[in-house]
Symmetry: C2
Subunit: 258 residues, 2 copies
């Protein structure tokens, strides 16, 4: 059974201020909780119904688990359809590994607001072997429970950093000659460019794109072409979809072009 | 001012049964409403605040518009942050154009459930010049207000059909020799295959993929490879993201491969 204080703490995870002061975040469902445990993240509380069991790699470790009824889980959960388990984890403290960022393909997010989009982007970064993401300070918090949920466990494998982007770009330009690609509605066709990594791919805010203060650092403006060219179509693609197509094209052109 | 009956009708648009019996659907916000008007769809009611005005192409036509206050709009809207205008449109009645489907690249959805995913897929179909989608009967309704919203106006340009997929596939195989591509977690690498259109691209349900009853019709199982191959990664991509990468790759390989 969950204590009153534990319930309070779980409810508090909806607020960034509370997550930051406790240095905790909430994960729900067997897939996400298991992925985080297997990635070695440290849980401070695991509440689960009797259908859930600890992944075998953890069975020997002494983890405090709290058995709950479905009703208790329903009342503590932030989800519409709670499943089997929820857990609080310590927020991993990543140091900003500049060398890794200079030597890899890295995603930069300039003001992404929607938790679903953020989760989708983390999930596809994981798919495409992108291990770091650098975000503007106003990008949605990676530990927002809706983001955690939408990553489907990928949050366990991706390091997400928040920083002042102009300063980050300035340092990046000083330290290395890698391209900085920015996705625009009017840029060069990604299929008529040679996309090179290590580099940065900058994705802008859902409504406003890449901010004016960051635009001067972009060395290559790129665009996903519509088909057929010149017909009336949607004004833009969803930012998660655009990130997916661009990341896929980087990996394809590096690995499969003949 | 909206009448009581008009408010009731707008509220009823949350339910498929009501949409189907009235043959209406709800669209909200200047972007979506304007796109639908410009695509020639027939509104039966337009309620708007004083900041909204009819697109110029419509100014001469006699459309009944109902001025509302922001408060009235807030109370009638299905959105968290209602914007300027909402409208009821007649559901366009498309006849199933087999010839178009045999001669184009067409998306087939087998049980997509999430309205956001459905909207994203319609939006990217529009981007990539796919004008028809064929859906299993249990795929989320295209006129669900959340789907309409997520299409960002693309719903005005895409014809979405609902049908029994096995019968549709059977007829397709009889009438033409086009490939039927299905996306699987274990299929052939999309970058090592030659993707050809006209053809069908089948996307499966978020959790369960392509149904067993439809699998026998798939002529090519395809997969988006992870990078680098063989490292631990997300189990899957979001279905909207996967559809985007596959559609982009079809258009790229047809138009830009050297």
């Amino acid at each position: 059974m969950l204590s009153k204080n534990q319930k309070k703490l779980i409810a508090a995870m909806a607020q960034k201020k509370q997550r930051d002061s406790q240095l905790l975040f909430l994960a729900e469902g067997p897939k996400t909780v298991t992925d985080l445990l297997e990635a070695g993240l440290q849980p401070t509380l695991i509440a689960h119904t009797e259908n859930w069991s600890l992944p075998s790699s953890w069975s020997s470790k002494s983890l405090e688990r709290i058995p709950v009824t479905q009703k208790e889980l329903d009342s503590a959960s932030h989800l519409k359809t709670p499943q089997q388990v929820l857990a609080l984890f310590k927020q991993p403290q990543y140091s900003f590994n500049n060398n890794a960022i200079y030597n890899e393909l890295t995603l930069v997010l300039d003001g992404i607001q929607d938790p679903g989009n953020m989760g989708t982007i983390i999930r596809l970064a994981d798919w495409f072997g992108i291990s770091h993401m650098v975000c503007s300070m106003d990008t949605v918090d990676v530990y927002n429970p809706k983001v955690v949920q939408a990553t489907m466990g990928a949050i366990a494998r991706i390091q997400v950093h928040y920083t002042q982007l102009p300063a980050f770009f300035r340092q990046y330009r000083e330290k290395c000659d890698n391209p900085i690609y920015g996705t625009y509605l009017e840029g060069e066709n990604i299929y008529e460019n040679s996309l090179k990594s290590p580099s940065l791919i900058v994705m802008g805010n859902e409504g406003n794109g890449i901010r004016a203060e960051n635009a001067p650092f972009i060395t290559h403006k790129i665009t996903i072409p519509t088909f057929p060219a010149g017909t009336p179509t949607s004004e833009s693609l969803n930012v998660g979809v655009a990130a997916a197509i661009v990341c896929a094209e980087f990996r394809r052109s590096e690995n499969y072009s003949r």
